[in-house]
């Protein structure tokens, strides 16, 4: 049999295995046996490199290259299924313009240098002004990569100027969880999607952004189960097509909708009195809003939501009063289970923390919490936004394991675990993302006190809002220095002074943490190209170089290197020399050190080797009497969470009010920071597309994905287009107060914005929509609002649109 036939047989075996047994059968064949036996491919597990779902793939390799990808049927997350991006994940390694060598800008030209010189250049920048050195990281960092960067900055340089790109995608979810439950991350898990009766998407498009999760729900419906799906959005998407109800709201008014539901629950007497009396307290804003707010009674809360009648909410939001009543009635029913899903729509919002609080509050007030299927659940866009950012704490104010720099006890614990001199960790939070880049792009003599930023595993040149101000302005500042560790050329490397080639995905060891608290491990499977090296090694090598120069910040309290890793015989392992990096499992050593931090907030992780054996484990992972490790699916619920006091039923054991209760917040609707006006009369919203992951750095190197969606476009409502005489495919000028760009129009395309709204995706590095976006951010989470600002569109005189603009329209037409 030919190799190709073997592969085809393997493909069918995988499909049969994932589809399940025939009626009357109890088992299905294992595809890997067939594949290994017949094709000679070696198979190993890894989480997918893309979104926060955390699908597991089986990676088939041969002759040192990834040759096949299969969904991992043993993985609980995806049960063998993958989406179109996961389907192509193996190909992201093999774009021909992979960065292969360190490059330094000398006299304006990028010049190849050695790693030794590159490490020296970074060490020089640190030594010259450690207080002005910053790291900008990522929710795509592996847990060990983020942990090393975190310790380097907060345990070493002690200026706390480290922040991740996750600030741009889920920081409001963090502040929402913390101010509601006292601790971050969802209580439930993906099983909620399998058991809910009602699924409400709040500004969320999982059909395109988390398709494997969404397919779990579609599958239930296809099997004849009745699931009511409601899309509360500002633009029709593929998700809307699957929903029975679409509630289109005016941008920013989702707060009014949530308050309207609370109003109805109280007015109708359908709020869950027992749940609220036993497990909740109430909070409202102080005059100057804070994350702690002020204590209020139920009666005060009732008065605050009283104005939010369905008619009043309709007036603010545009959602018909009857639809608000529909939501109120659903939440008022105790015999159904309701799951709320959200992602960027609620988080990229200048009232992001507030709307997160309100959606949690609606679930708490109605008692739709803590049973499988009854859950407020946020999704993340990056594979380790939870693991590396939220748990390792790579945000500018945080320390590992849910600690914060402002807390003296947390600092002392951290110093002890890191073997640092007392007082090393700085109590002052570092600069959050927008502030960090603003300081970097401001002349030093005018207070721009960030002189060097080292970017790892992300592309701020494309994703920062108001790019001209927060990124491009660096171009004219000769004393500022940008270091970028990357896998491909990007908008960020284009402005960099030093570019470091990085290993990607299965070219290195790694550990990720997905959206449902699941920690996932994988091993290096293939070599990176050229001289590309692990990001983790890069940071460690700089730390070691500084240590060898006698830089005190890299020494612990006993004078040892702060990243000291030793053999069993006590001898030091010289892993900072690249040729010795894989002499030991550095990831394992770092993970075991980090694991000690995870108990304080009951985010307990198991030993590294447990993750080697498992397909991910959801924390808290608690050791049983027989020595085995048990994961937790439903936090705060007695039936599953071992940390809940027996007999309590539910317990929020890190409660803000320290009484085991969660907080139901009142947060009022407020006007957005910028709204359409006479000059800029429309809304601009930005976002992602199915085919491309974030800035397209990886997916635009996959020919199928690039061809399927080759360039950015502006989605317009047909009435808006007709009003200006704009036709499909025509290039038009899109302008905000911050910038302008020309884009082809897509009318009646994949998404359907309402009149007065346009949508532009951000994946295209040749059409950078963040030249237009607003950098205004949520006061608590510091997360910018990419979802709305005022915009105008105009025709371009004499534009030969029919030839130039049709690419996205044609590419997506049925084949």
């Amino acid at each position: 049999m030919k190799r190709r036939d073997f592969l085809k047989r393997s493909a069918m075996a995988a499909a049969v295995a994932a589809a399940g047994p025939l009626p009357g059968q109890t088992t299905v064949p294992e595809y890997t046996e067939s594949a290994e036996g017949d094709t000679g491919l070696e198979w190993e597990k890894a989480p997918c490199r893309f979104c926060g779902t955390g699908c597991h793939v089986m990676v088939g390799r041969e002759n040192g290259k990834v040759r096949a990808i299969a969904g991992d049927r043993k993985a609980d997350v995806n049960k063998g299924l993958l989406c179109v991006k996961g389907y192509h994940v193996g190909m992201i390694l093999y774009g021909q313009d992979r960065l292969r060598y360190p490059m330094l800008r000398k006299n304006g030209e990028m010049t190849r240098i050695s790693w030794d010189e590159a490490i020296d250049v970074i060490a020089d920048r640190v030594e010259a002004d450690p207080a002005a050195f910053a790291i900008y990281g990522s929710g795509q960092w592996t847990i060990p990569e983020g942990y090393v960067a975190q310790k380097f900055m907060k345990g070493g340089l002690a200026n706390n100027h480290i922040d991740p790109n996750a600030r741009l995608c889920m920081a409001s979810a963090v502040t929402g969880f913390i101010s509601t439950y006292g601790v971050d991350e969802p209580a439930g898990c993906y099983q909620d999607l399998d058991e809910c009766d009602v699924l409400i998407m709040w500004g969320n498009n999982p059909a395109e952004m988390h398709p494997v999760l969404f397919s779990r729900v579609v599958d239930r419906r296809s099997r004849g189960e009745e699931i009511l799906m409601i899309d509360i959005g500002t633009r029709r998407t593929r998700t809307t097509d699957h929903c029975q109800h679409y509630l289109e709201f005016k941008p920013h008014t989702d707060l009014a909708i949530a308050n309207g539901i609370a109003h109805l629950l109280i007015k109708n007497g359908t709020w869950d009195k027992k749940f609220v009396e036993n497990h909740c307290n109430f909070r409202a804003d102080t005059e100057k809003p804070t994350l702690l707010g002020r204590e209020i009674t139920f009666e005060e809360y009732k008065k605050l939501v009283e104005p939010y009648t369905p008619e009043y909410v309709e007036k603010i939001s545009g959602v018909p009063a009857e639809k608000i009543r529909l939501l109120g009635d659903l939440f008022g029913q105790r015999d159904i289970r309701i799951c709320s899903l959200w992602c960027m729509g609620m988080n990229q919002h200048t009232r992001g923390t507030a709307i997160n609080n309100l959606v949690h509050g609606v679930h708490l007030l109605s008692g739709h919490f803590g049973r499988p299927g009854d859950a407020p659940t946020s999704l993340t866009g990056q594979p380790s936004a939870c693991g590396t950012v939220r748990e390792v704490g790579t945000l500018a104010h945080a320390l590992p394991g849910g600690r914060v720099v402002a807390n003296a006890e947390h600092r002392a614990e951290t110093e002890k675990l890191w073997n640092l001199p007392e007082g090393r960790v700085n109590a002052k939070p570092g600069y959050h993302t927008v502030l960090m880049w603003e300081k970097f792009c401001t002349p030093t003599e005018e207070g721009g006190d960030i002189g060097t930023i080292w970017v790892q595993v992300t592309n701020p040149g494309q994703t920062l809002p108001n790019r001209h101000k927060l990124f491009e302005a660096k171009r004219d500042l000769k004393d500022k220095f940008l270091i970028v560790s990357e896998v491909y050329p990007t908008a960020s490397t284009e402005l960099a002074d030093l570019v470091l080639p990085a290993a990607l995905w299965v070219e290195k060891n790694g550990v990720y943490g997905n959206s449902e608290r699941r920690t996932q491990q994988w091993f290096k499977m293939v070599e990176p190209p050229g001289e590309a090296r692990d990001d983790c090694w890069q940071t460690l090598a700089v730390a070691r170089r500084l240590y060898e120069r006698g830089f005190e910040a890299m020494k612990g309290r006993d004078g040892r290197f702060i990243f000291d890793i030793r053999n069993e015989d006590g001898s030091e392992i010289p892993y900072w020399k690249w040729e010795h990096y894989y002499d030991t499992n550095v990831d394992k050593a770092l993970f075991e050190e980090y694991r000690q931090f995870t108990r304080l907030k009951h985010k307990d992780l198991a030993p590294y080797d447990e993750y080697v054996r498992a397909h991910g484990l959801r924390w808290p992972v608690v050791q049983q009497q027989d020595g085995t490790w048990r994961e937790t699916k439903f936090r705060f619920s007695e039936f599953d969470d071992p940390y809940v006091t027996k007999g309590a039923e539910f317990e929020f054991y890190h409660s803000v009010t320290k009484d085991g209760r969660a907080l139901i917040w009142f947060r009022p609707y407020e006007e957005p920071p910028e709204s359409p006006d006479d000059e800029f009369p429309m809304w601009l919203s930005t976002g992602r597309v199915l085919e491309h992951w974030h800035t397209g750095t990886m997916t635009m190197r996959v020919p199928q994905l690039r061809r399927a969606m080759p360039g950015a476009y502006v989605e317009m409502n047909p009435k808006d287009a007709a009003r200006q005489g704009i036709v499909n495919g025509e290039r038009i000028l899109v302008e905000t107060r911050r910038g302008s760009m020309e884009l082809p129009v897509w009318v009646e395309g994949r998404g359907h914005p309402p009149e007065g709204t346009v949508f532009i995706p951000f994946f295209d590095e040749t059409l950078l929509v963040n030249d237009l976006t607003l950098e205004a951010y949520d006061p608590f989470s510091k997360q910018p609002d990419f979802k709305k600002c005022a915009v105008r569109v105009r025709r371009i005189p004499n534009e030969p649109y029919q030839e130039k603009g049709l690419a996205p329209v044609n590419a997506n037409a049925p084949g």
Binding site: S10, P21, G80, Y87, R223, P703
Partner: protein, 88 residues
């Protein structure tokens, strides 16, 4: 020339689902197994990546197919360079 394994979620409407299966079976690049409830396992073998993508889109638009999940994909060695070079 990718070889892929897909699981198609068929519509609850039996008639449309049956028509979808017939249409799929009529394509020489597609091999269908017996449906498992609403799940149809298929293997797809196309001559080049362009055809693969077009076929994927065609399946996606096919009435009676609610959702496509991918479970297996291989990319044989002989096709790395030209396509990737084009991409960059």
């Amino acid at each position: 020339m990718p070889v892929s394994g897909l699981v198609l979620t068929l519509s609850a409407n039996g008639g449309t689902a049956a028509e979808a299966i017939s249409a799929l079976k009529a394509r020489p690049e597609i091999e269908c197994e017996a449906p498992r409830g609403n799940k149809l396992p298929v293997a797809v073998d196309t001559l080049d990546r362009t055809k693969d993508q077009a076929l994927w889109r065609w399946i996606n638009e096919l009435p009676g197919v609610d959702f496509i999940d991918v479970v297996f994909i291989s990319f044989p060695e002989d096709e790395d360079s030209p396509e990737v070079a084009e991409a960059c």
